[in-house]
Amino acid sequence: MQRAFAAGMLIALIAPIIGVFLIMRKQSLIADTLSHIALAGVAIGLVIGSQPEWMSIFIVILGAILIEFLRVRFKSYSDVSIAILMAAGLSIALCLMSISPRGSKTMDQYLFGSIITVTGHQIAVFLAIAIGIFIYFMITKRSLYTMIFNEDVAKVSGISTKFLSFSFSAVIGLFISMMIPMIGMLLVSAIIILPAAIAIQLTTRFRYVFIIASLVSILCTFWGLVSSYKIGTPPGASIALCMVMGILLTLIYKKSKEILFKRIGE
């Protein structure tokens, strides 16, 4: 359980940072697409007999770079490319897993994940990667902000937008492929996007949005894991459910505040 908390907190610290930038870039669906591609990576690993985890990381990073390439190449159809890659990832995964003897067991493991069974070695690797990703965002935060605001403005400011976009995609790919065995492919996107969505509703300040998103994520991960332990529900699903409740409460709070201010105004 201690290891589950450690892994959960690492996810809770990094996932919202990625989520904020994805929402600002209007690319919330990318996390979902990449998790589908990760499953294809696992399936390829099983079929060719290599380590599924490393193959999944390799394929997801490749997929993330491919999505970015398609986004630039077909600007008006960028959401179509996401849909194509999502379908491609899942269909490749399902076909390959059906011919692999370990397919169905591994499929379950990656679909739903298990943060409880995470090993000390996995946490050590995850910690190193999380620190690397955190440093990446510290260095590129301002450039990402400018690029999201406007790519041409960023280019004129001397920012290499091509490198920044591709590295951003690769970093997301890497993080998602690390998250999947713990959280499960089906809920990765929710864990990344929901805390960021809550924070964007609660603050209009760029410097606070990351702090609020991380706090929300830590709180929901904590309550999710505790309730999972007490009630026996799946940990990933419990964390995601806490986040869904969080966004509902945030929306209710915002609406009531609006109504209250309107009444005071009258």
């Binding site: 929402i23 600002m24 510290m138 590129t140 301002r142 041409d152 403005v153 280019k155 004129v156 400011s157």
Partner: protein, 214 residues
């Protein structure tokens, strides 16, 4: 010709096989306030993007000194998302990041400069609002204020007065004029008559190729 003269030299450019600019040449001297004018489809934005190096000409060359501190405010910048998590003040201050390393903090001088720009562009009442919630004209002004934060030597603005009424436009041109000759300013505008009293040079583009210099 001064060191910071910019311009295009016999530039030809097009999209797919259609030439939209043919043999276009002009120069803008340091400290000038220049306007690129012309009807819709005269490739004004294309000319500005060629000047900035965002597009590569098919033929001809661009006159652009190295290491020039440039700021650019593109067209339709007003389409910033409503939920963009940034206040107007944060957004303006973000213009100073350009000259800073990632670990350098925003200085007191930057904050004071941002406050002065807020006053200059008359944004005092909206400074704490989210940038996405401003009107089109206010967003344009905030974008121009942001562009001034990095002390640019050259500022290029693509239709910066979209969404502003006539009175607001005149105040805006006057504010820009007050920044010259410290900064070279190039703007794209449809309002030739309005802008004439303030500018030093008009580059008028005719639809498809011909360009005449004033």
């Amino acid at each position: 010709m001064t060191v910071s003269t910019i311009g295009l030299n016999n530039v030809t450019f097009g999209y797919l096989k259609n030439i939209v600019i043919e043999n276009l040449s002009f120069t803008i001297e340091q400290g000038q306030f220049a306007a690129i004018t012309g009807e819709n489809g005269a490739a004004k934005t294309t000319a500005m993007r060629l000047l900035l190096g965002l597009l590569k000409p098919w033929k001809g060359s661009r006159l652009w000194p190295k290491n020039l501190n440039t700021s650019y405010v593109p067209q339709q910048i007003a389409s910033i998302e409503q939920d963009f998590p940034s206040t107007v003040f944060e957004f303006i201050v973000s213009g100073s990041w350009k000259s800073k390393k990632w670990y350098e903090r925003v200085s007191k001088a930057d904050i004071e400069k941002a406050e002065a720009l807020v006053n200059k562009f008359d944004l005092q009442n909206v400074v704490h609002l989210p940038i996405g919630k401003l009107s089109g004209g206010q967003k344009q002004k905030a974008c121009v204020a942001r562009a001034f934060m990095s002390n640019p030597e050259i500022l290029l603005l693509d239709e910066p007065t979209a969404g502003m009424d006539e009175k607001m436009r005149n105040i805006f041109y006057e504010t820009l004029k007050s920044m010259c000759p410290k900064v070279t300013i190039v703007i794209i505008t449809h309002h030739i008559n309005e802008v004439k009293p303030y500018i030093d040079q008009i580059i008028h583009l005719e639809r498809r190729q011909e360009s005449c210099l004033n």
